[in-house]
């Protein structure tokens, strides 16, 4: 009876409880991030150099695209500014997700060396701690580089801009970042089970972003279907970008699908949340 009472109480507290936990999590995330930023800025030169390196490293992808376009005028029917637009949106979305929780792929090694336990004895949500761990400001390098390419492409693509279309650009980057963040989280949750599987996650994050940098017309239909319906990366930039650039969707989906980005992002967050809970529960009952 007492157990039942407690359970009912918990249910009533449910929504408030979730809100409180999210608040707590954000606060803890902020605390840890602030600490890392402060310690990074203590070594200003080192920070500037690594940020610059990150900027250059991520720029290599674009350099490859430029080299390709030194031989051709269109790739898969897309001009350089159009490909640059795809590149900019995809890379910016990944960059934001990477900045926010890019260290999550270290979860497996944390489980292996036992430092996961340390996170579990602190009075703040584990997710916030894992996400903020080793917060690296140098990842702004990727975002800066992507923003530059995106900015350049916006001045060159042939689009009849309306307020709605202008708004669509930041919205797709934001939704894309959330989708990538969800993928990061699912990948991390998977490492509760398979600790050495960090690289699988890279296929979907870095690999996914590379995929989205090129026009969908380049790839086989089945691959495009896969990233639309199974791992819905196509909603990061492909579908809204095709609409913006006035291109036909190779899968011939109805037009309203192009605007589903926010819905897909929300769904992905739900999936990620479930995966994370399952992973953590598995850890707490098996103790790895």
């Amino acid at each position: 009876m007492a157990e039942d009472g407690a359970r009912a109480g918990a249910a009533v507290r449910g929504f408030g409880g979730v809100a409180v936990r999210i608040g707590e999590g954000l606060r803890a995330y902020g605390l840890i991030v602030a600490m890392w930023v402060r310690s990074t800025l203590a070594y200003r030169t080192s920070f500037l150099l690594t940020a610059l390196g990150h900027f250059a490293a991520t720029g290599l992808d674009f350099l490859a695209i430029l080299l390709m376009f030194s031989h051709i005028t269109a790739l898969g029917g897309f001009t350089l500014p159009e490909v640059a637009f795809l590149y900019g949106t995809s890379s910016a979305a990944l960059g934001l997700a990477d900045l926010a929780l890019g260290s999550m792929d270290r979860l497996g090694s944390r489980v292996r060396d036992g430092t996961m336990d340390v996170l579990l004895v602190r009075p703040v949500p584990v997710f916030a701690q894992v996400a903020a761990d080793r917060f690296a400001l140098r990842r702004l390098g990727r975002i800066t580089q992507a923003a530059l390419v995106l900015g350049w492409s916006l001045t060159r693509v042939e689009v009849a801009w309306t307020p709605g279309k202008v708004l669509l650009v930041p919205l797709m980057v934001l939704c894309g970042a959330v989708i990538f963040a969800a993928v990061f989280t699912v990948g991390a949750a998977f490492q509760f089970v398979a600790q050495d599987a960090a690289e699988v996650q890279n296929s979907f994050t870095y690999g996914g972003s590379t995929l989205l940098q090129y026009p969908p017309t380049v790839f086989a239909k089945d691959l495009v279907r896969g990233v639309t319906f199974i791992v819905p990366l196509a909603f990061v930039n492909w579908l809204p970008a095709l609409r913006l650039l006035g291109r036909d969707d190779p899968l011939g989906l109805p037009g309203w699908v192009d605007f589903l980005g926010p819905v897909v992002a929300a769904l992905m967050c739900g999936v990620a949340g479930l995966a994370w809970r399952t992973g953590l529960r598995n850890y707490r009952s098996t103790g790895s």
Partner: protein
């Protein structure tokens, strides 16, 4: 540390935080009743076949620790010590039995309990590896929402007693093991926890660091009434800190009582190692001691752990040309294996 009697500090806090589960603290501060933890592991059997095997890491443990006690929790490697501590902190969910710390079920309310608990894992740090010690503490303060005044008082006390002053600006990864351990212990106490779990707090430390850590723990327990559960391999830790000791082996509690009782039960022995001037036949005629090993000029004499070493030393020194000597404490594995031998003997 909060300087005051043990009634004011933690007692007052208990009033502020009524127990959410509706249960009052019952008999003890830490209560275990038939707690079990079963792991399933896959083991290779043959080339491709794998069998699922059940490992009972903790197999029905019950004990109760009153508030303010300092208890040793010992046992051989893999006996289930760490698993128990992990269940007490809510890291692991028990497979069976009932477990309460301060009236809270750790598995269900892990984060709430975390504010009232301090944990020191001997092997791995709870500090942030790349940050200076000071920054780690600052982060702990904010995470646990420790009031500024209490934080400053606690930190000052820790810095003084554990000699942390020169270490505060040093990144944790550059600290030696002993320094890091002291840093870790301080971090676990900044938020005035009511209970402190220490997992091998003196492992790998030099003699001076060990003494410092032990002195500090004694003081924390006496002054603040912090309940301490100490897991260790070093019997000296137990001897100097705990009046009560629990022994776990193969997931079961095999002894719970005073340390003297443990020695008596185990009939454990200490060893006097003497270096003589030259090779001599085995030493004889020392009351209460017998020579167990001879290697060149070095000889080993065993005597009951409960007995003082002084008469043995003087008896040897009187009749033999003594160059150097040392006393070795019985180690836990040894004590426990003797205990078994004692209990199974007819």
């Amino acid at each position: 540390m909060r300087v005051g009697t043990r009634d004011t500090a933690p007692g007052a806090r208990r009033q502020e935080e009524p127990d959410g589960t509706g249960r009052r603290e019952e008999h003890g501060f830490i209560e275990l009743d038939g707690v079990e933890k079963v792991f399933h592991v896959r083991r290779k059997a043959g080339r491709l076949r794998r069998v699922r095997e059940e490992v009972r890491a903790v197999d029905g443990i019950s004990f109760s620790v009153p508030r303010g006690a300092m208890v040793g929790y010992i046992g051989p490697n893999g006996a289930g010590k760490s698993t128990t501590v992990k269940m007490l902190t809510g890291i692991l969910v028990p497979s069976g039995g009932r477990l309460r710390v301060a009236g809270i079920d750790p598995a269900r309310e892990r984060t709430r309990l975390a504010r009232r608990v301090g944990v020191v894992f001997g092997q791995r740090t709870t500090l942030w590896w790349d940050l200076p010690l000071k920054d780690s503490y600052e982060l702990v303060r904010r995470m646990y929402r420790v009031p500024e005044a209490a934080y400053r008082r606690n930190l000052e006390r820790c810095v003084e007693l554990l000699d942390l002053g020169p270490l505060l600006p040093v990144p944790v990864r550059q600290l030696s093991l002993g320094q890091r351990m002291r840093g870790d212990i301080a971090a676990a106490l900044l938020h005035d926890p009511e209970v402190l779990y220490l997992d091998e707090p003196t492992i790998g430390l030099d003699v001076i660091s060990k003494a410092k850590v032990r002195g500090f723990l004694r003081e924390v327990n006496a002054e603040r009434g912090t309940t301490v559960l100490l897991t260790t391999h070093d019997l000296t830790d137990i001897e100097q800190l705990c009046r009560r000791v629990m022994v776990i082996d193969h997931g079961r509690l095999v002894y719970d009582g005073g340390l003297d009782g443990l020695h008596a039960v185990g009939r454990s022995e200490r060893t006097l190692v003497v270096d003589l001037e030259r090779e001599l036949p085995p030493i004889e005629g020392v009351p209460g001691a017998r020579t167990v090993k001879v290697e060149g000029p070095r000889q080993w004499l065993a005597f009951p752990a409960a007995q003082s070493a002084a008469p043995v030393v003087s008896a040897v020194a009187e009749r033999y040309p003594l160059v150097d000597l040392s006393v070795r404490e019985p180690d836990i594995e040894d004590v426990i294996s003797r205990m078994y031998a004692g209990s199974t003997a007819p």
